[in-house]
Symmetry: C2
Amino acid sequence: MNFENQIHGRPECTVERALDVIDGKWTTLILRDLLSGTRRFGELRSSLSGISPKTLTDRLRALETQGVLTRQVFPEIPPRVEYTLTDKGRALGSVVHALAEWGAQWT
Amino acid sequence: MNFENQIHGRPECTVERALDVIDGKWTTLILRDLLSGTRRFGELRSSLSGISPKTLTDRLRALETQGVLTRQVFPEIPPRVEYTLTDKGRALGSVVHALAEWGAQWT
DNA sequence: TGCTATAGTTTCTGATAATGAACTTTGAGA
DNA sequence: TCTCAAAGTTCATTATCAGAAACTATAGCA
């Protein structure tokens, strides 16, 4: 059982609160891909080479819950689902950009 | 800028390469604390409330290996060890800053 | 009738991270 | 001699994340 939230509540530190949203490696990479525009499930699955459909679904649902992206289902056969960043999600561009710049200069 | 990734070897994408260094929640929080100056093991242990000494040691050693920080041991009893960011580590300030700003505005 | 396509879901399994508690080392001071 | 402090280490256990493979639903098409 996890009483972390009960003990600490909403973290005071804004860095910690941000990290609660972008947790894990795949999450940031999904953000990276969606920053250049709306993508379908299958498109993300290809560009994030190596991700399993389960993990991709998990991460997308978590980001949707946090309000970082929206999921639009088109009632077609075969199904079409599009993922788009919200304003909140697009604002994370600064974080992804900072990572990219650091990675370019120091790694 | 190129956000696409490559299948073989060292990732082409600079975001991915950056994420190889700052992996996990604690790592970023350690960075946050060291950005305001040199800290001792015990100081980090207190400011990162809840971290176990094993985890703190593991993360600090990994960051040292990546060249993000230096570890200076003073031959005293009881021991004193100081952790300081390198230029490479200080450059991650932009990432931590972007996280803080986003967290402040959107969470 | 069977095939295809997309966007998943389900179940099982494994790797990595992190936790908690107890223990270690060493010299100085009571 | 006993105790204390700092910075760990060690061991056992749990939590979390991720992966592989198989399965589902449905309409259009040949």
